[in-house]
Amino acid sequence: MIAQEQKPIEEILGYLEGKQKVVVMGCGGCATFYHTGDKKAVRDMGERLRKEGKEVTEIVLPLGISACEIDMSSKFLEKKRKAVENADALLMMSCGDGAQVIADYIEKRIGATVAVVPANDALGLVGGGPKKFKETCQMCGQCELGKTVGICPLTACGKGLMNGPCGGVREDGKCEVDPEKDCAWVKIYERMEKLGELDKFTEMRDPHAWSRAKRPRLFEIEEPVKPVSAILGSLPSYLTLFTGPKYEEEE
């Protein structure tokens, strides 16, 4: 999921200066998990902006409906089409992806040009939870995990080295940049040692091929998923959520 946090309200108000009619739109995907674009966050933001004297329209996306999935999110946007057409700004409570997908839709499909303003800062693709999350993949386009026993050094190493550790490892095996974080290369060494694959460690790994990360990347699939039937078809599987063992998060 895309970790995110809300920007300081002063920054948001700065972007909205001189914008009277504001649409506040949330996101039912990651932003709902991080409370930066769920129903409550949208309502709270609406209230805050009304206190500033603004005319606010709120658009809430239910859990599972991400702003970035435009075939679904556009339906909720269309319900408030009038307000969107007349808005001076749309405050997007999602990651930058959601914000730009929505802005694009408004411009191309609604035919209005509205200033789309971010309410959040996206902090990376993270996993874990339910409380603590960690960035482990940067979607580089050329996965290196096969060379590094399943730990991505481009992401987990503060310097993104393919041949670490650097000389900055701390006494306790923590990172030079941040004493809270483990040195990825010490972790890789230890795992290789357990697997009896230390010969791999002393082999040089080639520099990463960044040519797969030419931005912006475009992507196309032949058969798009049909969201409603996919959700309905999966319903029985969701039972596992209720029958599986309880997950206790490590402290």
Partner: protein, 306 residues
């Protein structure tokens, strides 16, 4: 890798001569007067000098420009330090070729401290290559006349490449494996991080075992207590013995400047005589004296090794 020798440093090392190298630091300035002055003081005392590349990620005069000027104006052979922190593989290649054009003969290939620790923390860290792949690039350029993408290089430069090692690394076994990796891809000499404790050095050499490249052990006779304290507190993998630290601290109380200098020298000579005597019993091929602006201490250190 060919056996050809292009530099005085490699000549002396290959002849088995005990080699001393020094260190010069370009500054945040529009000139290199200070390192040139320091280089002049080191001529005749050391075989070559490292010219640092944005140490601790503080952005200074380019080490390429500084090394060229220093070598040109003082005749001091330079070991051009090159970090991966600030340049991608294209920029590194350009600088390697530039070094050849400017008559530099030795490069020390470094990963480099993270930019977030320096004086421009919002800079984008690069690390497109790391020390290992930078060594591989230099070897490929020099030995095969090609870059990493396989592009031909006309009239490739003749350069030697060295690597760093951290004997005091917190996770020594991983560091040792990395040093071996750097030797495997073609490092021709090693200069270590500063070591103060002989037991740290002994453990390093024992774990490393026999290797085919000369190793110069990094030492730092501190000119002031603050320098020694800085190493102890802030430099990863460097432990300063409490006795030495205490003796240096006591010199602070001496009011007379000349007497204080004498006492600092005495503390250093006493400490490093013992250290260097110990060094004689290790496989070290030389000594990299990293103390900047403290040339007067060098003759006494060299005397120990005679």
């Amino acid at each position: 890798m060919s056996d050809e020798v292009y530099s005085q440093l490699m000549k002396e090392l290959s002849e088995g001569k005990y080699v001393f190298t020094g260190e010069l630091e370009p500054e945040k300035a529009g000139d290199v007067e200070e390192p040139i002055k320091a280089a002049r003081e080191l001529v005749g005392l050391v075989t070559a000098c490292n010219v640092t590349d944005n140490p601790q990620s503080f952005a200074y005069v380019s080490s390429l420009a500084a090394a060229y000027k220093i070598q040109l104006e003082t005749g001091m052979e330079c070991i051009y330090q090159l970090r991966c922190a600030d340049r991608n593989r294209s920029a590194l290649l350009s600088d390697i070729l530039g070094a050849g054009v400017l008559g530099l003969k030795n490069i020390l290939a470094l990963t480099g401290d993270h930019v977030a620790l320096g004086d421009t923390p919002d800079a984008k860290p690069v690390y497109d290559l790391d020390s290992t792949t930078l060594i591989a690039l230099i070897r490929r350029v020099v030995d095969e006349g090609k870059d990493l993408a396989g592009n031909e290089i006309h009239n490739p430069p003749k350069l030697h490449v060295g690597a760093a090692a951290a004997p005091g690394a917190a996770v020594l076994k991983a560091e040792i494996a990395k040093v071996k990796r750097k030797i495997k891809v073609g490092a021709e000499f090693i200069q270590t991080q500063v070591v103060y404790k002989t037991e740290v050095l002994d453990r390093f050499f024992k774990e490393l075992g026999k290797v085919d490249v000369p190793i110069l052990v990094g030492i730092f006779p501190a000119k002031t207590y603050a320098q020694a304290d800085f190493f102890d507190k802030y430099v990863a993998g460097v432990d300063v013995p409490p006795d030495y630290l205490q003796h240096m601290k006591e010199t602070k109380a001496i009011k007379d400047k000349e007497k204080r200098k004498e006492e600092v020298d005495r503390v250093n000579i006493e400490f490093f005589t013992e250290f260097l005597e110990h060094l004689k019993d290790t496989p070290a091929a030389g000594c990299h004296i990293m103390a900047v602006g403290y040339p007067r201490i060098i003759p006494a250190l060299k005397k120990v090794m005679e």
